[in-house]
Amino acid sequence: MSEKKQANYVIVDTGCANLASVKFAVERLGFAITISDDVDVIKNANKVILPGVGSARHAMENIVAKGLVETLQQLTQPVLGFCLGMQLMARTSVEGADKNEVVQCLGLIPTDITPLQANDLRLPHMGWNTLTQVAEHAIFNGIKADDYFYFVHSFAAPISQYTIARCQYGAEFSAAIAKDNFIGCQFHPERSSALGSKIIKNFLEM
């Protein structure tokens, strides 16, 4: 029984559309990964990726319907959220919410998702943008300010004590946030060429 248990990596099946591209990105690095919405499979994973595209309301409805809210909240292993997956880690989001209301998210990182303050710039913020600041964090090993990543979003986490990377579009916002074992990137590492792959690799080898 001394044999080292093979690491198992899981992508949470949030019912969102970019599951396949996240899986392919991990597989291109030579790692095996499972897509699952099974509570035990997710709990027993060494690392968990929480992807997502679309609106916060639709995604949270899916997660609630699948009975995964508590499971995700109780994870103690490293968890990496991509784009909407990052936003779902926040307390709340206004995306897809009815007027004067908010969508309750997972509450893993105490921040709230608000419309991007793009000033006069066009929305969605879509394309390759540079990071303006990158904190010391294992996920950013080999990544520096001025590196380009692929962003597609109209909502964002404001700068806070949980910000570990910044981006500028009209105003500064969090390009990545983290608290304890939870890490989220607003950009899409799976679509950000070699540097995006580097981030995924950093996470899987953390």
């Binding site: 599951l19 597989e27 291109r28 595209v53 639709h58 969605p124 394309g127």
Partner: protein, 262 residues
């Protein structure tokens, strides 16, 4: 700074990449997957795959290649062609496409744009607009008009829409990005239609992608500097090796256009 995007476009017919002149006389350029991989590695910022026969033939794109592309490339890509329903869109996005582009089906049923944006998010709904400058229209003063079914010459037809009106309509309905195909310029490599793109830009608050007319590097410089588009799409200049991606991007950088060098 947000970089301007260089977007090779691969017109697809029966699983092969093809290119015609002014939407006609298609010749085979090569297989999809190795071409997609080649462009991603060369530094393309995004790829668009148009199944040019799909809308005309009343069928959805043959989907198997979408998944094969998603497996090998690590930059965003968009799939266009015959996406008529939420279910069509879902299948293509599930296979790994980042965006879907709607053209003729949106003209037939504009409410499709709103339904797709609600379910999948505005960010992945691209509207392709085929626009033709009709010199005889508007009492001989000429007018930009929207065409449909442009993948099949025999069925290509004018719609009731003026281009500038349709651009505004699709934004109201939830378009996340607009690709303006300037048909008069397509495939003839005489430069982008700066005049038309400037007019559309003035009315377009979502990302705008120029398409049709790229023939040399200076055309890209012009379209970014003069029409302030967010991306420039081109096909034959890349497929035929007339423009090298690294030289294009370095020139744009030298001309002070924000660009991602690879």
């Amino acid at each position: 700074m947000l970089a301007k995007r260089i977007i090779p476009c691969l017109d697809v017919r029966d699983g092969k990449v093809v290119k015609g002149v002014q939407f006609r006389n298609h010749e085979i350029i090569g297989d999809i997957v190795p071409l997609a991989q080649k462009y991603a590695e060369a530094g393309a910022d995004e790829l668009v795959f148009y199944d040019i026969t799909a809308s005309s033939d009343d069928r959805v794109v043959d989907k198997s290649w979408v998944s094969r592309i998603a497996e090998v490339i690590d930059i965003p890509f968009c799939v266009a062609g015959g996406i008529k329903t939420e279910e069509d869109a879902k299948q293509i996005l599930m296979m790994g496409a980042d965006k879907i582009s709607i053209n003729s089906p949106a003209l037939r049923d504009p409410s499709l744009i709103a339904r797709l944006a609600d379910v999948f998010g505005q960010q992945c709904i691209v509207i392709g607009v085929d626009s033709f400058f009709n010199q005889d229209a508007n009492n001989g003063k000429g007018e930009y008009q929207v065409y449909q079914f442009t993948g099949d010459e025999a069925r290509t037809q004018k719609t009731k829409w003026r281009t500038l009106d349709w651009i505004q309509e699709v934004q109201k309905l939830g378009a996340g990005e607009i690709v303006l195909n300037c048909m008069n310029q397509d495939g003839v490599r005489q430069g982008y239609d700066i005049n038309q793109l400037k007019q559309v830009r003035a009315l377009c608050n979502v990302p705008l992608i120029a398409s049709g007319g790229a023939g040399e590097i200076s055309h890209f410089v012009d379209v970014f500097q003069q029409a302030d588009v967010d991306g420039a799409l081109a096909a034959s200049v890349f497929h035929k090796g007339i423009i090298a991606m690294d030289e294009l991007k370095q020139t744009l950088r030298n001309e002070k256009v924000e660009i991602r060098l690879c």
